[in-house]
């Protein structure tokens, strides 16, 4: 963990709590046209400050993944704007793509660590590829950097020489995190990162994400349908239902005094309550 904490001090100083790091303003995403049109997200506004961990919760189909994809530029919103560090990244209606010079700042890890890594690339190669996309390094230097990132995620040099199929789900997910950290991003979006891995691996991954946030100042958007995870990891939360943000606030307040009946239903559904 020591390697990744080097930037922590610098990052903390940059943190400006008055101006959000990443901001989505009235984002709508509509799939299809005319009578077939389906609003996956309706006028959702989200802000994330530097070093902050924010949760988006809701059921399958509530629009949480679509909203997150719009925030990182993987999904063009049909209305609304996305701002990063006070600069408009893109707005609906324009053909402009997210500029390459900005793209490194937001990175994402996905739900399924089995399908998000190339099965024919060795683990270190998958990470070195990402390193070379973002940093102007020679092959040998990129390899060193990839191994450094992987070691910091608890993946040994030995494991880095394997193909993804030889790794467990939890290890693969940590490889995905190493890959996402290659450009030293400011925001990491984690889309249900623990839902397909075993419980003992879950705890390892959550500890890792929490440290990246607290020690390195990485902002994390954590998408989950599990309020237990969100309670543990985030300080603010947005609750989505059928494309709308129905409740938002400090995680503790929302969980202790939910204002919306849907939030209450989610809380009551946690196993063991």
């Amino acid at each position: 963990m020591t390697a990744v904490t080097a930037h922590a001090g610098e990052k903390m100083q940059q943190k400006d709590m008055t101006r959000p790091l990443l901001e989505g303003k009235d984002i709508s995403v509509t799939f299809g046209r005319g009578a077939e049109a389906f609003d996956a997200v309706r006028a959702a506004s989200v802000t994330v400050h530097g070093g902050e961990a924010v949760g988006i919760v809701g059921e399958s189909g509530s629009g949480k993944t679509t909203l997150a994809r719009a925030l990182v530029g993987l999904q063009r919103p049909s209305a609304g704007e996305v701002w990063l560090e006070g600069q408009p990244l893109f707005s609906a209606g324009t053909e402009q793509r997210m500029p390459r010079s900005e793209r490194w700042k937001t990175q994402m890890i996905f739900q399924d660590p089995y399908s998000s890594l190339n099965p024919r690339m060795r683990v270190w190669q998958a990470v070195a590829e990402a390193v070379q996309v973002w940093q102007n390094l020679s092959g040998a230097e990129a390899r060193m950097e990839a191994l450094r990132l992987l070691n910091a995620m608890g993946i040994s040099d030995d494991q880095a020489r394997q193909f993804p199929k030889s790794l467990s789900g939890g290890q693969r997910q940590r490889v995905s995190v190493a890959r996402a950290l290659a450009p030293d991003p400011k925001v990491l979006i984690a889309d249900e990162p623990t839902s397909s891995i075993d419980q003992s691996a879950q705890a390892q991954l959550l500890n890792l994400l929490r440290r990246l946030q607290s020690e390195r100042g990485l902002a994390i958007i954590f998408i989950s349908h599990d309020l237990g995870l969100v309670r543990y990891l985030t300080s603010r939360v947005y609750v989505m239902q059928k494309g709308d943000i129905v409740e938002a606030g400090k995680t503790q307040d929302v969980l202790e005094r939910p204002q919306h009946s849907y939030t209450q239903l989610l809380i009551d559904s946690i196993p063991g309550r």
Partner: protein, 337 residues
């Protein structure tokens, strides 16, 4: 719960020292389960918890006689169900058991339904398998089954195909098919894994209600201890092909006697304090084919010593109110410091 039971009655199901290996015949054998033990009374609900690769699903498949035909086989051990030995039983015997006596809900409800047939066709198939039903009667029975699993607008759902149904609805149809012949035992293999928490809650309470209405025993497989604690009386914990702890849910949750059971509990995020590290189990789960010698949990265990590394996987032994396969079961308190 189960302490007051009269022990003279033979359990409904008893699995003793079951070993299952891949690779039959003369070739190299790869054990996937080598010490599974499970005991279940009439109408009792037992949970099986463990991580992927621990052998939960293989055990279930052995209990309904659907181990991969050319791949895996029971090497040793016994499976007694309702007074009958099922380990190594021929297919003819299994036909009288599977579905009729033991109902099964597989892990993936999407894969469990045939995408080109309507729900009605598939349920009628389950019902007529017992015989002596006219088509008309079977159809009425199918509609009745959907009502039993609380599906509103049953007639509409009967005409639907699986892709037109939500995940929760599909799981209800799978449950309807599993209980069609009134089994004594229902096995549910991770029935809520892919579902949202709200739907999970509905499915779990449906299973509990049906169990009471139909006087069924239940085996619920899950990787989530919280789910099992909600539904079951007893729990059996599996690690790397072996039963490592078994007993009443309350005993295992208050005072686990195997370090792995304890680790599963303390690494849970719903008990964690925000801002503090979770107590993660170090390392990775032992995978099939690379089980360590000695107790399989020792490389990840804080109590492990020379004896754990040297001896073979310990058998389940009585301790406190449960059974534990840890030779240091009495030293569990040390882990709390």
């Amino acid at each position: 719960m189960c302490q007051q039971k009269e022990r003279e009655i033979e359990p409904l199901l008893e699995v003793k020292d079951l070993c299952i290996s891949f690779g039959k015949g003369g070739g190299r054998k790869l054990p996937v389960i080598d010490a599974a033990n499970l005991s279940l009374d009439q109408r009792q609900a037992v949970g099986i918890v463990g991580e992927s690769g621990s052998g939960k699903t293989m055990l279930c498949r052995a209990l309904i006689g659907t181990l991969p035909r050319h791949g895996a086989g029971i090497v040793s051990g016994t499976v007694r169900f309702d007074g009958q030995e099922l380990a190594g039983a021929p297919e003819r015997v299994w036909r009288g058991i599977r579905g009729r006596e033991i109902g099964y809900i597989p892990q993936s409800s999407l894969a469990g339904l045939n995408p080109v047939l309507t729900v009605e066709t598939q349920l009628v198939e389950s019902i007529t398998a017992v015989g002596s039903f006219s088509r008309q009667e079977a159809r009425q029975e199918a509609a009745g089954l959907l009502e039993k699993v609380r599906i509103p607008r049953a007639q509409q759902v009967l005409k639907a195909r699986s892709h037109q149904l939500s995940g929760g609805m599909r799981q209800r149809v799978m449950i309807a098919a599993a209980i069609a012949q009134g089994p004594k035992l229902l096995i549910a293999d991770e029935p809520t894994t892919a579902l949202d928490v709200t739907i999970q809650r509905e499915i779990l309470s449906l299973i509990t209600q049906l169990r009471q209405e139909l006087n069924m025993a239940l085996i619920l497989v899950s990787h989530d201890l919280a789910v099992i604690e909600e539904v079951c009386d007893d729990v059996m914990v599996m690690y790397a092909g072996a039963s490592v702890e078994a007993g009443p849910v309350a005993a295992l949750s208050k005072a686990p006697r195997h370090p792995y059971t304890r680790a599963l509990r303390v690494s849970r995020v719903d008990r964690a304090v925000p801002g503090q590290d979770l107590e993660a189990i170090p390392g990775d789960a032992a995978s099939v084919g690379s089980w360590p010698a000695g107790c399989r949990f020792w490389p990840r265990c804080a109590l492990a010593d020379e004896a754990c590394r040297r001896d073979t996987q310990p058998a389940l032994m009585p301790t406190a109110q449960q059974l534990s396969a840890c030779i240091h079961a009495e030293r569990m308190a040390e882990l709390e410091q």
